[in-house]
């Protein structure tokens, strides 16, 4: 079981979560805790359920069994027993507590970089326009894009778009940030600028749950690595342990072996 560093209630608490797409059992009983301020990275082969798990945390995917709670509040259901789904307004409020950054950025193409950030601030957080703009500019500066505030996403490079995506998520001041393979769609030379932003956020104490294929990043940024395969957590521990050469988990060793062969780590 996941050890929480503080000993208090974990910020994110996932228990026995199961999910199927039709006859495919994608999540087969997941238990995972993320403590406040902790960075946890999920690695593993494609189709292992990593992204699905992440999408369950903000209920982009409903889960059929088990419980996911943020700060002790069940995410998708009004109460875990009867599994009565939250109302639309309730769900929206819950989702505002989590920030998500997507593999394909998913910026709103009809809005400028600044407007992408202010939309949630004004409509969800209820900030005035001037205040929201200030906050958007603050975060655009943080990701190094203050000069691109009035640009449309189509006028930005992939790396710049993803940095706007991160700014959009963190500007909402979520309790936890979910990063879904955020560098997978980027050209190799653009990956660094995005990961630097994430590392800076981690240094600020932002709680993060990431799915990543950047093994080096996972090792450097995370306190804990979770190895998922076939819908279960097959290994879990601090990076030094997970990436150690005398790793006893056969699946993990072969996954990392294939990985380092491909990436010459």
């Amino acid at each position: 079981m996941a050890a929480t560093s503080t000993g208090t209630t974990p910020l994110l608490r996932i228990r026995a979560v199961q999910k199927s797409f039709g006859s495919t059992h994608v999540l087969r009983g997941i238990d995972l805790d993320v403590a406040r301020g902790e960075v946890v990275s999920i690695i593993g082969p494609s189709g292992g359920g990593k992204t699905t798990l992440l999408r369950c945390v903000n209920f982009l995917e409903p889960y059929e069994q088990g419980s996911i709670a943020i700060d002790g509040v069940e995410v998708g259901y009004r109460d875990g027993e009867t599994r009565k789904r939250r109302s639309e307004r309730d769900l929206a409020r819950m989702r505002a507590e989590t920030g998500m950054v997507f593999q394909l950025f998913n910026l709103f193409p009809h809005l400028t970089a600044a407007q992408n950030i202010t939309l949630g601030l004004t409509k969800v957080r209820g900030l005035g326009h001037a205040e929201a703009k200030d906050k958007a500019m603050h975060w655009l500066r943080r990701v190094g894009l203050a000069d691109k505030a009035e640009r449309l996403p189509s006028e930005l490079s992939g790396g710049q778009q993803q940095r706007v995506g991160i700014a959009r998520a963190v500007a909402m001041e979520p309790k936890i940030l979910l990063l879904d393979e955020i560098t997978s769609a980027l050209d190799p030379e653009l990956i660094g600028e995005v990961l630097d932003v994430v590392l800076a956020l981690a240094a600020d104490g932002m709680t993060m749950l990431t799915v990543t294929h950047e093994i080096g990043f996972a090792r450097d940024a995370s306190q804990r690595i979770v190895f998922m395969a076939d819908g279960t957590i097959s290994a879990e521990g601090p990076p030094a342990e997970i990436f150690s050469s005398n790793q006893s988990n056969e699946r993990l060793r072969s996954f990392l072996g294939r990985f380092s062969a491909a990436h010459r780590l």
Binding site: R55, N58, L60, E88, R89, L91, A92, R93, R95, A96, E97, T98, G99, M100, F102, L104, N106, L107, F108, P109, H110, L119, G120, K123, V124, L152, S154, R168, A169, M172
Partner: protein, 216 residues
């Protein structure tokens, strides 16, 4: 020829106004209802989706003239007796609603799925996701077929003269019956229809340009 047209104009004017009136009512009402049902078709629960799906498929599979005759001659048998004008507007509107539903569905489905995910992720509730994220992107896919549909409505409205509604075509036929010069009158009538529709297509191109800045 010109003096024949000059003679006909006072007789055609009321018909032209009826054609414009019927087209406007049909387009306005069907757009509102079609957008609501189209959103229901895409996002609604199954009990809402299926009837909408069925309605749209059935109506689009019926020739518009058959639909008009059904409303005018068929509905009175059920006790619903409509004046020719009301029957014409109702028939055209039902037909148009089915089309608008499909334009809306196509337009919404053209927006990448990730847009809905991103809008959910920042905590927008459904109606705000629709209003601020989906609709602004869907509208540029919706406008071209919809504006085509508006010109179709103007042209299709000529069929209502068959129900005895005094529209433009009806007026032309009346004058032809008096002057026995169909060529000049039908040419002139065609020109009137063309002018209306050409004005619409100019407006449509301007609107499309207005939304062309949005790119994925």
């Amino acid at each position: 020829m010109l003096d024949q047209i000059a003679y006909a104009i006072p007789f055609l004017l009321p018909g032209l106004l009826v054609t414009i009136e019927v087209s406007l009512i049909t387009v306005a009402v069907s757009s509102v209802i079609g957008v609501v049902l189209g959103v229901g078709l895409v996002y609604g629960p199954a009990w809402l989706r299926w009837p909408i799906r069925g309605f749209s498929d059935i109506i689009r599979g019926i020739p518009i003239l058959v639909l008009l005759f059904f409303v005018y001659y068929g509905l009175p048998l059920t006790g619903l007796n409509l004046q020719s004008f009301a029957a014409a507007v109702l028939g055209l509107t039902i037909f148009k609603v089915a089309q608008v539903i499909e334009y809306v569905r196509g337009a919404i489905e053209s927006v990448p799925r990730g847009q809905m995910d991103a809008a959910k992720a920042i905590g927008l509730p459904f109606h705000e996701r629709l209003a601020y994220v989906i609709a602004p992107q869907a509208v540029r896919r919706f406008l071209p077929p919809w504006l085509n549909g508006v010109t179709d409505a103007v042209k299709g409205s000529a069929l209502i003269s068959l129900l005895g509604v005094g529209d433009l075509l009806f007026g032309i036929q009346k004058v032809v019956g008096r002057t026995y010069d169909p060529l000049a009158l039908y040419c002139f009538g065609a020109l009137l229809y063309f002018v209306m529709n050409y004005a619409l297509s100019i407006a449509s191109r301007a609107l499309e340009r207005r939304f062309s800045y949005i790119r994925e």
